[in-house]
Protein backbone atom coordinates (compact mmCIF):
# COMPACT_ATOMS: atom_id res chain seq x y z
CA UNK A 1 0.00 0.00 0.00
CA UNK A 2 2.80 2.57 0.64
CA UNK A 3 3.54 2.73 -3.12
CA UNK A 4 -0.08 3.59 -3.87
CA UNK A 5 -0.09 6.17 -1.10
CA UNK A 6 3.09 7.68 -2.55
CA UNK A 7 1.66 7.82 -6.06
CA UNK A 8 -1.53 9.38 -4.66
CA UNK A 9 0.50 12.12 -2.97
CA UNK A 10 2.27 12.90 -6.27
CA UNK A 11 -0.96 12.96 -8.28
CA UNK A 12 -2.71 14.93 -5.51
CA UNK A 13 -0.01 17.62 -5.58
CA UNK A 14 -0.22 17.77 -9.37
CA UNK A 15 -3.99 18.13 -9.05
CA UNK A 16 -3.61 21.00 -6.57
CA UNK A 17 -1.05 22.55 -8.93
CA UNK A 18 -3.50 22.43 -11.84
CA UNK A 19 -6.25 23.98 -9.70
CA UNK A 20 -3.93 26.82 -8.62
CA UNK A 21 -2.73 27.45 -12.20
CA UNK A 22 -6.27 27.65 -13.56
CA UNK A 23 -7.68 29.54 -10.60
CA UNK A 24 -4.95 32.19 -10.47
CA UNK A 25 -4.20 32.26 -14.24
CA UNK A 26 -0.51 31.52 -13.57
CA UNK A 27 1.83 31.40 -16.61
CA UNK A 28 3.44 28.10 -15.47
CA UNK A 29 2.43 24.45 -15.99
CA UNK A 30 0.44 22.70 -13.25
CA UNK A 31 3.09 20.05 -12.41
CA UNK A 32 5.70 22.77 -11.72
CA UNK A 33 3.33 24.37 -9.19
CA UNK A 34 2.61 20.84 -7.90
CA UNK A 35 6.34 20.47 -7.25
CA UNK A 36 6.27 23.64 -5.12
CA UNK A 37 3.18 22.32 -3.28
CA UNK A 38 4.96 19.04 -2.47
CA UNK A 39 8.13 20.86 -1.39
CA UNK A 40 6.13 23.02 1.04
CA UNK A 41 4.35 19.89 2.27
CA UNK A 42 7.66 18.08 2.88
CA UNK A 43 9.06 21.10 4.76
CA UNK A 44 5.99 21.11 7.03
CA UNK A 45 6.07 17.33 7.46
CA UNK A 46 9.81 17.37 8.17
CA UNK A 47 10.66 14.12 6.36
CA UNK A 48 9.90 12.17 3.17
CA UNK A 49 7.48 9.26 3.80
CA UNK A 50 8.92 5.92 2.64
CA UNK A 51 6.24 5.14 0.05
CA UNK A 52 6.52 8.59 -1.47
CA UNK A 53 10.28 8.24 -1.77
CA UNK A 54 9.99 4.84 -3.43
CA UNK A 55 7.45 5.93 -6.04
CA UNK A 56 9.02 9.37 -6.60
CA UNK A 57 12.57 8.13 -7.01
CA UNK A 58 11.33 5.28 -9.20
CA UNK A 59 9.81 7.81 -11.58
CA UNK A 60 12.90 10.03 -11.53
CA UNK A 61 15.20 7.10 -12.29
CA UNK A 62 13.47 6.69 -15.66
CA UNK A 63 12.86 10.38 -16.32
CA UNK A 64 14.65 10.17 -19.68
CA UNK A 65 12.16 7.58 -20.92
CA UNK A 66 9.25 9.87 -20.02
CA UNK A 67 10.49 12.50 -22.49
CA UNK A 68 10.48 10.14 -25.45
CA UNK A 69 6.80 10.50 -26.52
CA UNK A 70 7.10 14.31 -26.56
CA UNK A 71 10.48 14.09 -28.28
CA UNK A 72 9.10 12.00 -31.13
CA UNK A 73 6.81 15.01 -31.72
CA UNK A 74 9.74 16.73 -33.49
CA UNK A 75 8.75 14.71 -36.58
CA UNK A 76 5.60 16.84 -36.92
CA UNK A 77 7.74 19.97 -37.31
CA UNK A 78 10.19 18.71 -39.93
CA UNK A 79 8.68 20.91 -42.66
CA UNK A 80 8.73 24.06 -40.53
CA UNK A 81 12.31 23.36 -39.51
CA UNK A 82 13.36 22.71 -43.13
CA UNK A 83 12.19 26.19 -44.13
CA UNK A 84 14.79 27.89 -41.90
CA UNK A 85 17.09 24.90 -41.41
CA UNK A 86 20.58 26.45 -41.15
CA UNK A 87 19.68 29.52 -39.07
CA UNK A 88 17.81 27.23 -36.66
CA UNK A 89 20.46 24.52 -36.31
CA UNK A 90 23.48 26.84 -36.10
CA UNK A 91 21.69 29.11 -33.62
CA UNK A 92 20.60 26.20 -31.44
CA UNK A 93 24.07 24.65 -31.29
CA UNK A 94 25.93 27.93 -30.68
CA UNK A 95 23.37 29.29 -28.24
CA UNK A 96 23.12 26.05 -26.24
CA UNK A 97 26.91 25.75 -26.00
CA UNK A 98 27.22 29.41 -24.92
CA UNK A 99 24.43 29.08 -22.36
CA UNK A 100 26.07 25.98 -20.85
CA UNK A 101 29.51 27.62 -20.70
CA UNK A 102 28.34 30.96 -19.28
CA UNK A 103 26.01 29.44 -16.67
CA UNK A 104 28.60 26.91 -15.50
CA UNK A 105 31.35 29.55 -15.32
CA UNK A 106 29.21 32.17 -13.55
CA UNK A 107 27.87 29.70 -11.01
CA UNK A 108 31.22 28.11 -10.19
CA UNK A 109 32.73 31.59 -9.82
CA UNK A 110 29.90 32.72 -7.53
CA UNK A 111 30.14 29.57 -5.40
CA UNK A 112 33.96 29.42 -5.23
CA UNK A 113 34.07 30.55 -1.58
CA UNK A 114 31.28 28.23 -0.44
CA UNK A 115 32.52 24.90 0.92
CA UNK A 116 31.48 21.92 -1.15
CA UNK A 117 29.63 18.92 0.15
CA UNK A 118 32.10 16.01 0.57
CA UNK A 119 29.35 13.58 -0.47
CA UNK A 120 29.63 14.87 -4.04
CA UNK A 121 33.30 14.45 -4.59
CA UNK A 122 33.20 10.69 -5.00
CA UNK A 123 30.75 10.93 -7.87
CA UNK A 124 32.52 11.83 -11.09
CA UNK A 125 30.95 12.40 -14.48
CA UNK A 126 31.08 9.43 -16.81
CA UNK A 127 33.83 9.62 -19.49
Amino acid sequence: MPLIAGMSVLLGCQFLGEILVHGLQLPVPGPVVGMVVLLVGLMINGRVPKGLRTSGEGLLRYLTLLFVPAGVGVMVHFDLIKADFWPIIVTLVVSTALTLAVTAKVMSWLTRSIPKDPRDECREERP
Partner: protein, 244 residues
Protein backbone atom coordinates in the same frame (compact mmCIF):
# COMPACT_ATOMS: atom_id res chain seq x y z
CA UNK B 1 2.53 -0.85 -44.85
CA UNK B 2 1.56 -3.79 -46.98
CA UNK B 3 2.38 -7.37 -46.24
CA UNK B 4 2.16 -10.28 -48.68
CA UNK B 5 -0.16 -12.43 -46.59
CA UNK B 6 -3.66 -10.96 -46.06
CA UNK B 7 -3.92 -12.41 -42.55
CA UNK B 8 -0.74 -10.65 -41.49
CA UNK B 9 -2.06 -7.50 -43.09
CA UNK B 10 -5.22 -7.68 -41.01
CA UNK B 11 -3.23 -8.38 -37.89
CA UNK B 12 -1.06 -5.33 -38.59
CA UNK B 13 -4.12 -3.12 -39.09
CA UNK B 14 -5.50 -4.35 -35.78
CA UNK B 15 -2.23 -3.98 -33.87
CA UNK B 16 -1.26 -0.60 -35.26
CA UNK B 17 -4.61 0.82 -34.20
CA UNK B 18 -4.29 -0.36 -30.59
CA UNK B 19 -2.18 1.59 -28.09
CA UNK B 20 -0.37 -1.62 -27.17
CA UNK B 21 1.95 -1.61 -30.20
CA UNK B 22 3.38 1.88 -29.80
CA UNK B 23 3.67 1.57 -26.05
CA UNK B 24 5.74 -1.57 -26.58
CA UNK B 25 7.74 0.04 -29.40
CA UNK B 26 8.65 2.95 -27.10
CA UNK B 27 9.86 0.66 -24.32
CA UNK B 28 11.79 -1.63 -26.69
CA UNK B 29 13.41 1.33 -28.48
CA UNK B 30 14.46 2.75 -25.11
CA UNK B 31 15.98 -0.53 -23.98
CA UNK B 32 17.69 -0.99 -27.33
CA UNK B 33 19.07 2.55 -27.29
CA UNK B 34 20.33 2.21 -23.71
CA UNK B 35 22.04 -1.06 -24.65
CA UNK B 36 23.58 0.48 -27.77
CA UNK B 37 24.78 3.50 -25.81
CA UNK B 38 26.47 1.24 -23.24
CA UNK B 39 28.02 -0.76 -26.07
CA UNK B 40 29.51 2.46 -27.46
CA UNK B 41 31.03 3.32 -24.08
CA UNK B 42 28.28 5.73 -22.98
CA UNK B 43 29.19 8.39 -25.55
CA UNK B 44 27.29 11.64 -24.86
CA UNK B 45 26.78 12.21 -28.60
CA UNK B 46 24.38 9.31 -28.78
CA UNK B 47 22.44 9.92 -25.60
CA UNK B 48 19.85 7.15 -25.10
CA UNK B 49 16.92 9.61 -25.34
CA UNK B 50 18.12 11.06 -28.64
CA UNK B 51 18.79 7.59 -29.98
CA UNK B 52 15.39 6.31 -28.80
CA UNK B 53 13.61 9.22 -30.47
CA UNK B 54 15.53 8.67 -33.71
CA UNK B 55 14.75 4.92 -33.67
CA UNK B 56 11.04 5.54 -33.12
CA UNK B 57 10.82 8.25 -35.81
CA UNK B 58 12.52 5.82 -38.21
CA UNK B 59 10.03 3.09 -37.27
CA UNK B 60 7.03 5.39 -37.69
CA UNK B 61 8.30 6.65 -41.05
CA UNK B 62 8.88 3.09 -42.29
CA UNK B 63 5.44 1.94 -41.20
CA UNK B 64 3.83 5.17 -42.44
CA UNK B 65 2.32 5.90 -39.03
CA UNK B 66 1.43 9.46 -38.04
CA UNK B 67 2.34 11.04 -34.70
CA UNK B 68 -1.26 11.11 -33.42
CA UNK B 69 -1.55 7.32 -33.80
CA UNK B 70 1.80 6.81 -32.12
CA UNK B 71 0.85 9.11 -29.26
CA UNK B 72 -2.25 7.03 -28.50
CA UNK B 73 0.04 4.33 -27.20
CA UNK B 74 2.82 6.58 -25.94
CA UNK B 75 0.51 8.84 -23.94
CA UNK B 76 0.64 6.41 -21.01
CA UNK B 77 4.34 7.09 -20.67
CA UNK B 78 3.91 10.78 -21.39
CA UNK B 79 1.33 11.07 -18.62
CA UNK B 80 3.92 10.07 -16.01
CA UNK B 81 5.86 13.27 -16.74
CA UNK B 82 3.39 15.17 -14.55
CA UNK B 83 3.87 13.17 -11.34
CA UNK B 84 7.62 12.88 -12.14
CA UNK B 85 7.88 16.69 -12.25
CA UNK B 86 6.11 16.86 -8.88
CA UNK B 87 8.52 14.22 -7.56
CA UNK B 88 11.45 16.60 -8.25
CA UNK B 89 10.47 18.15 -4.90
CA UNK B 90 11.93 15.07 -3.15
CA UNK B 91 15.62 15.53 -4.17
CA UNK B 92 15.12 19.26 -3.76
CA UNK B 93 13.98 18.64 -0.18
CA UNK B 94 16.93 16.31 0.44
CA UNK B 95 19.37 19.00 -0.66
CA UNK B 96 17.44 21.93 0.87
CA UNK B 97 20.37 22.98 3.07
CA UNK B 98 22.70 23.36 0.13
CA UNK B 99 20.06 25.15 -1.94
CA UNK B 100 19.52 27.60 0.93
CA UNK B 101 23.27 28.19 1.22
CA UNK B 102 23.59 28.81 -2.51
CA UNK B 103 20.41 30.86 -2.94
CA UNK B 104 22.07 34.09 -4.13
CA UNK B 105 24.48 32.38 -6.58
CA UNK B 106 21.56 30.31 -7.87
CA UNK B 107 19.40 33.34 -8.65
CA UNK B 108 22.26 35.34 -10.20
CA UNK B 109 23.48 32.42 -12.36
CA UNK B 110 19.93 31.78 -13.46
CA UNK B 111 19.51 35.36 -14.70
CA UNK B 112 22.95 35.26 -16.39
CA UNK B 113 22.06 31.97 -18.09
CA UNK B 114 18.67 33.17 -19.31
CA UNK B 115 20.09 36.42 -20.70
CA UNK B 116 22.83 34.44 -22.52
CA UNK B 117 20.33 31.90 -23.89
CA UNK B 118 17.89 34.52 -25.17
CA UNK B 119 20.36 37.06 -26.57
CA UNK B 120 22.49 34.42 -28.31
CA UNK B 121 19.44 32.72 -29.79
CA UNK B 122 17.76 35.93 -30.97
CA UNK B 123 21.01 37.61 -32.09
CA UNK B 124 22.32 34.49 -33.83
CA UNK B 125 19.11 33.81 -35.71
CA UNK B 126 18.87 37.44 -36.81
CA UNK B 127 22.46 37.39 -38.07
CA UNK B 128 21.77 34.19 -39.98
CA UNK B 129 18.81 35.83 -41.66
CA UNK B 130 15.97 33.83 -40.14
CA UNK B 131 12.44 35.18 -40.50
CA UNK B 132 11.00 37.29 -37.68
CA UNK B 133 8.61 34.48 -36.81
CA UNK B 134 11.47 31.97 -36.53
CA UNK B 135 13.50 34.35 -34.37
CA UNK B 136 10.60 34.82 -31.97
CA UNK B 137 9.95 31.08 -31.93
CA UNK B 138 13.61 30.37 -31.12
CA UNK B 139 13.80 32.82 -28.21
CA UNK B 140 12.29 30.58 -25.47
CA UNK B 141 14.17 27.41 -26.58
CA UNK B 142 15.81 26.68 -23.21
CA UNK B 143 12.53 26.64 -21.31
CA UNK B 144 10.47 23.52 -20.61
CA UNK B 145 8.01 23.08 -23.50
CA UNK B 146 4.65 24.03 -21.91
CA UNK B 147 6.11 27.37 -20.77
CA UNK B 148 8.00 27.90 -24.05
CA UNK B 149 4.81 27.38 -26.05
CA UNK B 150 3.00 29.99 -23.96
CA UNK B 151 5.84 32.50 -24.35
CA UNK B 152 6.16 31.95 -28.12
CA UNK B 153 2.44 32.45 -28.54
CA UNK B 154 2.45 35.69 -26.54
CA UNK B 155 5.39 37.07 -28.59
CA UNK B 156 3.97 36.15 -31.99
CA UNK B 157 5.98 32.99 -32.72
CA UNK B 158 4.71 29.51 -33.63
CA UNK B 159 3.87 27.52 -30.45
CA UNK B 160 4.06 24.02 -31.98
CA UNK B 161 7.42 24.77 -33.60
CA UNK B 162 8.63 26.23 -30.30
CA UNK B 163 7.87 22.87 -28.68
CA UNK B 164 9.90 21.11 -31.39
CA UNK B 165 12.88 23.47 -30.98
CA UNK B 166 12.76 23.01 -27.21
CA UNK B 167 13.14 19.26 -27.74
CA UNK B 168 16.09 19.70 -30.11
CA UNK B 169 17.71 22.09 -27.61
CA UNK B 170 17.25 19.46 -24.90
CA UNK B 171 18.98 16.78 -26.96
CA UNK B 172 21.77 19.19 -27.94
CA UNK B 173 22.26 20.12 -24.31
CA UNK B 174 22.75 16.46 -23.36
CA UNK B 175 25.31 16.03 -26.15
CA UNK B 176 27.19 19.30 -25.58
CA UNK B 177 27.06 19.45 -21.77
CA UNK B 178 29.89 17.03 -20.94
CA UNK B 179 32.13 18.57 -23.63
CA UNK B 180 31.54 22.13 -22.41
CA UNK B 181 32.07 21.17 -18.76
CA UNK B 182 35.46 19.73 -19.68
CA UNK B 183 36.33 22.83 -21.73
CA UNK B 184 35.48 25.33 -18.98
CA UNK B 185 36.79 22.93 -16.28
CA UNK B 186 33.68 22.82 -14.13
CA UNK B 187 33.47 19.64 -12.04
CA UNK B 188 31.10 20.47 -9.17
CA UNK B 189 28.04 18.20 -9.68
CA UNK B 190 25.65 20.86 -8.31
CA UNK B 191 26.92 23.41 -10.82
CA UNK B 192 26.82 20.88 -13.67
CA UNK B 193 23.28 19.83 -12.79
CA UNK B 194 22.06 23.39 -12.41
CA UNK B 195 23.58 24.32 -15.78
CA UNK B 196 22.02 21.30 -17.51
CA UNK B 197 18.57 22.10 -16.08
CA UNK B 198 18.87 25.73 -17.14
CA UNK B 199 20.12 25.17 -20.70
CA UNK B 200 18.31 21.91 -21.49
CA UNK B 201 15.22 21.87 -19.20
CA UNK B 202 13.74 18.38 -18.56
CA UNK B 203 16.20 16.59 -20.88
CA UNK B 204 19.07 18.13 -18.94
CA UNK B 205 17.40 17.20 -15.65
CA UNK B 206 16.92 13.60 -16.74
CA UNK B 207 20.52 13.51 -17.96
CA UNK B 208 21.77 14.86 -14.63
CA UNK B 209 19.94 12.17 -12.67
CA UNK B 210 21.10 9.36 -14.93
CA UNK B 211 24.68 10.43 -15.68
CA UNK B 212 25.90 12.80 -12.94
CA UNK B 213 24.08 11.96 -9.70
CA UNK B 214 21.23 12.75 -7.29
CA UNK B 215 22.55 16.16 -6.18
CA UNK B 216 23.01 17.21 -9.81
CA UNK B 217 19.47 16.04 -10.54
CA UNK B 218 18.06 18.08 -7.66
CA UNK B 219 19.82 21.22 -8.85
CA UNK B 220 18.79 20.56 -12.45
CA UNK B 221 15.14 20.29 -11.43
CA UNK B 222 15.44 23.51 -9.48
CA UNK B 223 17.08 25.27 -12.45
CA UNK B 224 14.41 23.99 -14.83
CA UNK B 225 11.56 25.36 -12.69
CA UNK B 226 13.31 28.64 -11.92
CA UNK B 227 14.31 29.24 -15.56
CA UNK B 228 10.74 28.65 -16.68
CA UNK B 229 9.39 31.11 -14.13
CA UNK B 230 12.00 33.84 -14.68
CA UNK B 231 12.08 33.58 -18.49
CA UNK B 232 8.36 34.34 -18.64
CA UNK B 233 9.20 37.73 -17.10
CA UNK B 234 12.68 38.48 -18.51
CA UNK B 235 12.17 37.44 -22.13
CA UNK B 236 9.57 39.91 -23.48
CA UNK B 237 11.55 43.10 -22.55
CA UNK B 238 14.80 41.45 -23.72
CA UNK B 239 13.36 40.59 -27.14
CA UNK B 240 12.06 44.16 -27.30
CA UNK B 241 15.67 45.40 -27.06
CA UNK B 242 16.34 43.71 -30.42
CA UNK B 243 13.56 45.80 -31.94
CA UNK B 244 11.22 42.83 -32.45
Amino acid sequence: MSMPVPVLDQLWVYLSASPLLHLLVTLLAFMGASYLNRLLGGTPFLHPVVLTIALIIAFLTLTDTDYATYFEGAQFIHFLLGPATVALAIPLYDYRERVRRLLVPILLSCVAGIVTAVTSAVGGAMLMGASRETVLTLSPKSVTSPIAMGIAEKLGGIPSLAAGLVLITGSLGCALGPVIFRLVRVRDPSVQGFTMGLAAHGFGTAYSFSSIGAAAGAFAGLAMGLTGLLTAFILPPLVHLFGL
